[in-house]
């Protein structure tokens, strides 16, 4: 049952090369085909209600170029004839649309492939029933953790995939990946006190032990919130962000360093290369090469090698992230940051993994010790997607947070909202711990910032 049958990268490149050949007389100047095939399994348990889903998601995204006119179309099939027809559709769009003066050409091959990310045969060979069993056991473990558990919500996902980019300028590269992830939320009750907690795990390698613990940790996180109080009045102070939630506050960075947003006037970092935008102790790199990184791959969505790219050094902005379109506009070559949401969209700049460097060797507990007056946000945040990445104003609520005074946690907070502005926040980094956690976005440590308002 469910033998995973994802085509190999070479098979996809094969199909792409054939199409390039067969469409040579379609009147195009250039052509690019992006193939994506992912075998996806997902399972969700809401307390004791189970849904599962499985299937091979595959399709091709096609860019057809005539001069400075690009037409894009996508289809959910690898059938050669259907792809040829789709190339005709993309060609027709290109033919009939106005020029884009900003377009130069599709990317040329670049040298210097990294080794790519971990591909785990065990993830591939774990059967559906085994995944279902692990899920059931994990939830059981969660319930066994404490007699106070009322509900557990659990999710498990497995993706095994391959992608390839073939273009008429000589690019024919791709990569494959394995990902397993799990998250859980738990509701616990003691007398009339109801609290919630959450936990997640993501990796490129199978890790049964971690998955089996996810609901357990969620329950523990929920129980830590018993006897929580509200702040009562607004407090201005420091904020400790646990590694798991840092991204909720820092995501506007990607928006503002995207060369596309910069070139189109939609970024606060326009003309800021070489200028200070963050604290002196703040160092961030974009890294497409971390073996265990979820966003690692040999090449990006245009077939360009990914790499390490300094974004912030000592708080000074070093680089934007580019795809080929934005790079060529500036007379550069792509930095390997072209990402596609899926085969249905053309590429645009996006981070690979981000890595934030620590400023000392301690962990989150050491950060808490440094707080005069403030809040430790451990998890369960809401509203981070409401931050306007251009305005920067954020107002993020957490149901797993603690009040800190004089370096000690005083009590859990029933619910607290942290408000501020992203562009001020990154200038107020006090300390960065060395407790990096692998998340969907990179390797992120816990961080201490100054000057946030809480209510």
């Amino acid at each position: 049952m469910n033998e995973i049958s994802v085509p190999s990268v070479n098979e996809l490149i094969e199909i792409g090369s054939r199409i390039i050949q067969k469409t040579k007389d379609f009147g195009l100047d250039e052509l690019e085909l992006y193939f994506s095939a992912t075998d996806r399994f997902s399972l969700r348990i809401i307390t004791n209600y189970v849904t599962t889903s499985t299937g091979l998601d595959q399709g091709v995204g096609i860019r057809a170029v005539i001069g400075k006119k690009v037409g894009f179309t996508s289809i959910s099939s690898f059938d050669i004839e259907k792809i040829e027809e789709a190339v005709k559709i993309a060609a027709k769009i290109a033919k009939n649309r106005p020029e884009d003066p900003g377009f130069h050409h599709l990317p040329d091959p670049q040298r210097g492939l990294n080794q790519g990310g971990i591909y785990d045969e065990e993830i591939v060979s774990t059967s559906l029933s085994e995944l279902v069993n692990i899920s059931g056991k994990s939830v059981d473990n969660g319930f066994k953790t404490s007699e106070n558990v009322e509900k557990i919500d659990f999710s498990l996902g497995r993706a095994v995939g391959a992608f390839a980019v073939v273009n008429s300028r000589g690019i024919d590269e791709g990569d494959r990946y394995t990902v397993i992830y799990s998250w859980s939320t738990a509701k616990t009750k003691k007398n009339d006190d109801v609290t919630t907690g959450s936990e997640f795990f993501v990796g490129r390698k199978m890790n049964r032990d971690e998955i089996l613990e996810v609901p357990v940790e969620a329950v523990k996180n929920a129980e830590e919130m018993f006897n929580g109080k509200k702040l009562g009045e607004a407090v201005a102070g420091q904020i400790v962000l646990y590694n798991a939630v840092v991204q909720d506050f820092l995501w506007p960075l990607e928006f503002n360093v995207s060369a596309r947003n910069v070139q189109d006037g939609r970024s606060r970092f326009v003309e800021k290369i070489g200028e200070r935008v963050g604290s002196e102790n703040f160092n961030i790199i974009n890294d497409g090469t971390i073996p265990e990184g979820i966003r690692t791959s040999k090449v990006d969505g245009e077939g360009i090698p990914t790499r390490k790219l300094e974004i912030l050094r000592n708080g000074i902005l070093q680089s934007y992230i580019y795809d080929s379109y934005t790079a060529h506009k500036e007379g550069r070559t792509s930095t390997g940051n072209a990402a596609r949401r899926n085969f249905e969209t053309p590429p645009s700049p996006s981070f690979n993994n981000i890595y934030i460097a620590s400023t000392f060797s301690g962990d989150v507990n050491d950060l808490i010790k440094e707080v005069d007056k403030g809040v430790f946000i451990k998890g369960f945040t809401m509203g981070s997607h409401l931050t306007d990445p251009l305005k920067g104003t954020f107002s993020i609520t957490s149901l797993n947070a603690f009040y800190i005074e004089s370096g000690e946690i005083k009590y859990p907070l029933k619910s607290v909202s942290a408000s501020g502005n992203f562009f001020d926040l990154i200038r107020n980094v006090l300390k960065i711990a060395n407790d990096h956690r692998l998340t969907f976005n990179g390797k992120i440590p816990s961080m201490l910032f100054d000057n946030v308002t809480f209510i």
């Binding site: 189970v50 889903s53 106005p98 999710s155 189109d264 809401m382 509203g383 409401l386 107002s395 909202s417």
Partner: protein
């Protein structure tokens, strides 16, 4: 195109042979077109066709789902096998049964959108022209960035199940979105506006692009003059769009049958309880009312009938798929939706809106008198606990029932049960909106097109924070 109905029937027959107690097979052929513009230049033109087939199998008390994009007998058989096998594997851990409630087929009887100018009959150049109308209206030296997106989705949806229920319908939505960034007196401000509906391009005859772009520009300009206030409790007025965010986020999610049936929602077990004021009515329907998303049948073939969730403040309904309805011994409501063939249907919303009251807009403003007026939603989030956080698109300070000045980055938060009790009045006309960009997210299925809306609402007090 292969004979879809034959393939669906094959899936059903094979599934029953293979050991399923109940099978649903659905297929879709969906088209999309997005035209992205920067200032007055066309950047990307993104078209696509998505064809796929998905099968739900129920074996004893568990269900499994599998899909394929290869519409061949062989691939479909594999999908059916996988669906049945994963159902079998889940029987041990599924304590709540996934069997479907009985459903006596009814046809959808709500409003059917008129489609006079179907987007498939128009050229890309016409659509670019449409976008340009708005662009030309606002492009000027104060504009630092202008992003426009024209979008359309349409296609065919097929459904068949082992009870012989057969459904076919054609989803449709068109929309135009403007995102403006201005610089005025050295200050940067951004604003956005979106006009979408389940109709054809005639939408823009009634709602010209110029108007949509001007509203986005107004929002951007206002940000440059916006003032900030002390966070705290204020009297509050929601426009139909913001009311929609409240209805969808603060209430709708908590009435979803999977959360209710498992006790995960705070609204579980509270039918017939008074949770809000007399003026708080919330309705959920596949009927788009005016500018919502049209959905005649859900992805289990159930007609998307109107459901009253909150009536004069009393909880009177929940949203159900056939399986959650069965668990709770209630009727299916036509709320089982999947974003596309890659996913199984789960309980989702359709069009969620506050019901009309009997006041005029002016009376609503007078009633609140002094406070914050929020126009348009910027999205939001609610937890199972009932705590919510919503952002406004534009917001203003109101005094003596009149708008005085714009406010910075308003976010409304609180607990839904407190909030609903504070609704003091509703105006007469309901507007329901949808969007070609974005939608609702749940269980990894995002963004699902939904409609949301309401009348103007007067709220006694809400907890509001402002940008700095």
């Amino acid at each position: 195109m292969p004979d879809i109905w034959r393939l669906l029937q094959e899936a059903i027959d094979y599934g029953i042979d293979y050991g399923a107690d109940f099978i649903e097979a659905r297929a879709e052929n969906m088209r999309r077109l997005y035209i992205h513009m920067e200032r007055d230049k066309v950047r990307d033109i993104e078209s696509g066709e998505l064809i796929g087939l998905g099968v739900t199998a129920v074996v004893k008390n568990a269900r499994g789902y599998a899909f394929t994009t290869n519409l061949t007998s062989e691939s479909i058989k594999k999908a059916v096998k996988d669906a049945v096998e994963s159902a079998k594997a889940s029987t041990k851990i599924a304590e709540l049964p996934a069997t479907p409630a009985e459903y006596k087929p009814r046809n959808y009887e709500g409003y059917m959108p008129q489609v006079n100018k179907h987007p498939k009959d128009s050229e890309i150049s016409d659509k670019i022209e449409l976008a340009l109308q708005g662009i030309k209206e606002v492009l000027s030296s104060e504009i630092v960035s202008l992003r426009t997106v024209y979008g359309e989705i349409w296609g065919d949806k097929y459904f068949l199940n082992s009870e012989g229920l057969k459904r076919f319908w054609n989803p449709i939505m068109v929309g135009l979105y403007y995102f403006v960034v201005v610089r005025r007196n050295g200050v940067i401000g951004n604003g956005r506006e979106d006009m979408s509906a389940s109709t054809g391009l005639e939408l823009f005859d009634k709602h010209p692009p110029e108007g949509i772009a001007k509203t986005a520009l107004r929002g951007a300009r206002e940000v440059t003059e916006a003032k900030t206030l002390q966070s705290g409790k204020y009297g509050f007025i929601a426009d139909p769009s913001f009311a929609g965010v409240l209805a969808h986020e603060s209430f709708g999610h908590l009435t979803e049958g999977d959360y209710v049936a498992t006790g995960a929602s705070i609204l579980a077990g509270r039918l017939n309880e008074k949770l809000g004021s007399d003026y708080a009515n919330i309705i959920e329907s596949g009927d788009p009312v005016n500018y919502g998303f049209w959905l005649p049948y859900d992805d289990e073939g159930v007609d998307a009938k109107k459901v009253t969730l909150l009536k004069n403040g009393v909880l009177v309904g929940y949203l159900h798929a056939r399986s959650t309805a069965k668990i709770m011994n209630m009727e299916p409501t036509g709320n089982a939706r999947a974003i596309n063939y890659r996913f199984p249907p789960i309980v989702r919303m359709r069009n969620t809106y506050f019901g009309a009251g009997d006041m005029t807009k002016e009376e609503i403003f007078e009633l609140v008198g002094k406070g914050v007026y929020a126009e348009g939603g910027g999205g939001g989030q609610t937890e199972d606990t009932g705590n919510f956080t919503f952002a406004a698109n534009r917001a203003y300070w109101v005094e003596n029932g009149e708008i005085k000045y714009p406010l910075k980055s308003v976010v409304v938060r609180g607990h839904i049960l407190d909030f609903l009790k504070n609704v003091e009045g509703a105006s007469r006309n309901v507007i329901v909106e949808t969007s070609i960009l974005g939608g609702c997210g749940k269980g990894g299925q995002s963004p699902l097109p939904v409609g949301l809306g309401g009348p103007y609402l007067a709220v006694k007090e809400a907890i509001i924070s402002f940008g700095r």
